[in-house]
């Protein structure tokens, strides 16, 4: 079974980069174009790990984490925040909402895969 990744990012460029990197590394890749779509897609995709951007229209990354961890969905899967920001208070806020970890944009492929392995135990 491939490890299923749901990536939520409003930038087509980032989505394409993630798709290329993840598919090459043997992950099953799904994506959503904003937070709202990501949360809506979550039950159907039923991913093993979520990667989400912070600055997005229609529901930002914090909102995504809150809704996924909230009572409705009650997700337990790892959620990685993908962000250009590296401000500590932002990380603290994301973690307060239930984020598992963060990846700083621009990410290099190795860091991304390393982080995914650490949170999912994926053999990929």
């Amino acid at each position: 079974m491939k490890t299923k990744v749901l990536a939520i990012d409003d930038s087509r460029t980032i989505r394409n980069l993630l798709a290329a990197t993840l598919e090459e590394a043997g992950f099953e890749y799904h994506c959503a174009v904003d937070g709202r779509e990501g949360v809506d897609m979550y039950p159907d995709v039923d991913p093993d790990v979520v990667i989400t951007d912070i600055n997005m229209p229609n529901l930002d990354g914090f909102g995504v984490i809150e809704e996924l961890r909230g009572e409705g969905i009650n997700s337990k899967v790892p959620i990685l925040v993908l962000t250009t920001e590296s401000a500590p208070e932002l990380k603290a806020r994301a973690r307060g909402a239930g984020a598992t970890g963060w990846i700083t944009k621009p990410f290099d492929d190795a860091s991304l895969i390393f982080a995914l392995k650490r949170v999912t135990g994926a053999a990929a």
């Binding site: 409003d10 930038s11 087509r12 460029t13 980032i14 394409n16 980069l17 290329a20 709202r36 600055n55 997005m56 229209p57 229609n58 529901l59 909102g63 961890r69 009572e71 997700s75 337990k76 899967v77 790892p78 959620i79 250009t84 590296s86 401000a87 500590p88 208070e89 990380k91 603290a92 973690r95 307060g96 239930g98 984020a99 598992t100 970890g101 963060w102 990846i103 700083t104 944009k105 621009p106 990410f107 290099d108 190795a110 860091s111 390393f114 982080a115 392995k117 650490r118 949170v119 999912t120 135990g121």
Partner: protein, 719 residues
Amino acid sequence: MSGSIQDTFFEECEELLEATDEGLTAIEGGDHNPEVVNAIFRAVHSIKGGAGAFGLDDLVAFAHRFETVFDEVRSNRLELDEKLVQLLLRSSDHLSALVEAARDGGQIDEAHHDTLLAALDEYTPDEEEDLTFEPMGLGGPAPMMDLGDLGAAPAAPQEETYRIRFQPLKEMYGTGNEPFFLFQALRDMGDLAVTLDENELPGFDTMDMDESYLAWDLVLVTKEPRSVVEAVFEFVEGLCELSIAGDGDAEAEANALAALDAMFTAPPAAGSADGEAAAAPFEPPVPAPEPEAKPAAAEEKASAPKAESGKQEQRGGPKPTLRVELERVDRLINAVGELIINHSMLAQQIANLNVSDTRDVETELEGFKNLARDIQEGVMAIRAQPVKPLFQRMARIVREASAATGKTCKLVTEGENTEVDKTVIERLSDPLTHILRNAVDHGVEKPEDRTAAGKQTTGEIRLSASHRSGSVCIEIRDDGAGVNRPRVKQIAIEKGLIPENAELTDGEIDNLLFAPGFSTAKEISNLSGRGVGMDVVKNAVTGLGGRINISSAPGKGSTFTIILPLTLAVMDGMVVSVADQTMVVPITSIVETMRGSDDMINSLGADGTLLSIRGNFVPICDVARALGLYRESDRQAGVYLLVETETGQRCALAVDDIHDQRQVVIKSLDGVCGEIPGVAAATILGDGKIAMILDPESIIAASPTAAAFDTERRLSNAS
């Protein structure tokens, strides 16, 4: 692979830059809605994010500075005053230039770049953030990747033994972090021994399911540097009690951990408070935290709509869209074209059937026709796009042109939501750019001249789009000095475009601007073009099946009017016969049709004929002769289509007969038989035959009679 992703990035940049421009234009117009500011922030932020992935450092640095200013604005730490808005507009232009330079490998204006950066700097707080974007806060696995190289380095990595004590706080379990995976990552680095410490695990009767009781002692023997070992625990910093003791680096460890503690503002205070509450005596049926948790959740819900209201609003705003390859739409358009042809064929077949009562069939056929038209309009609507992005780019052109000429101009746009075929929009960009640069360069006066003329110092250029009876009308109106007619005429005479004694109407003089090779600039400014005149603009417009006109009032300004067909795929045409061939003339070019009698025809010179219409003479142009067709009989063409050219020249196209007026599907002849003089394209008629669509302009241009008459008219005007 990465090449195509980079293409996507630049495509996306176009959209993001448009969004930025759109937002800034709204702000310039006084709309300071937070969502507008947010949208710009996100757009610039996305550009930065993508640019970072491709190592476009200049772009990243500039976008970052730009974005920071917006962050200040959206946090209400900075007010959008006139000066700042202007700076942001210029910055947005420069961002476009940077994207272009990154894409096409061009150079940017370094001085301008630095000036803008410095100007933006004044609005931003001192940067603390490191712009080098080191991936993964703690160094990440990068050193691991370099191990091969490091091995050859003088200081070869030694195996080191790390003793790690890892005790998760209960908060860690809510974040999706799983100890097992962390251990797995450590195991991948070398030899790992894991010992579970369950000493704190209470008995079942006192166990709180939400509490964390387990701890692990790990011994890792690895060649990896300490930073890599620490990176494994990056995500659980502050969510666990962690100590990593390397053999013989107790001091270094203390320093590193102190630094880490300072870096993360983890919430141990809240954590420990909860911990105490949970450790309180166990209450069987209703756990104490429950009632507490509920109000908290309710409060969260109540406050959520407030924070989200802006977003809700936005969610109602943009409609869901679908991104489709253009080729698919074009295939559909072609199929609809065939459907329309198919309908006319069917109608023809039914008419040929010799059935007495065809009423029912005709009703159904009418329904078929209406549906086909609906589908056609629907498909055309897919290709149609609002002119808004195009107009927004033009605002930038005007700003640049103003800056280059030292004039102050603003562009006012109207009818931005008017939809036009995608190809038309694409091909309009160059002509519009040229006209607008001209308007700034030659139309609008210098500020001091404007003041002297009693005008506002800022020139206004109005760019508008509207639908006008089946066509699209684009108007560029400036409030400048108008066409300098004596000067234009003089140049035209100097260049031999008109005879020295020519007497021209004002309209004719204005239209000389479109004559090939005409340029009014005394010296070719590097702004309006390098020897490229308005004739190129005109060709571009006529190439789209459109027309362009200029009208001008001295001291008040000039107006360029571009009339374009709504679509490039179908048109209304008049079906005529010429020397036993069926042809189509575009309705838009026909002013009037009439049947001629002998007494209306007068001769001009040896070969030419003129048609007398209500006391005016119009040159006759025999289409058959113009196309090199020969009539088998001596039958004369007796039907005239009065057409008018761009320059206002009128001509009567002589054809044999008029059959019908109908919508025809335009089929390009490009690649089939090249360019035929006088023929614009082809179509397929109801009987399945191919008919040529004529180009009246080029037929008239090639007609000796029309040319002779035109010269004579000018000369007679002169005398």
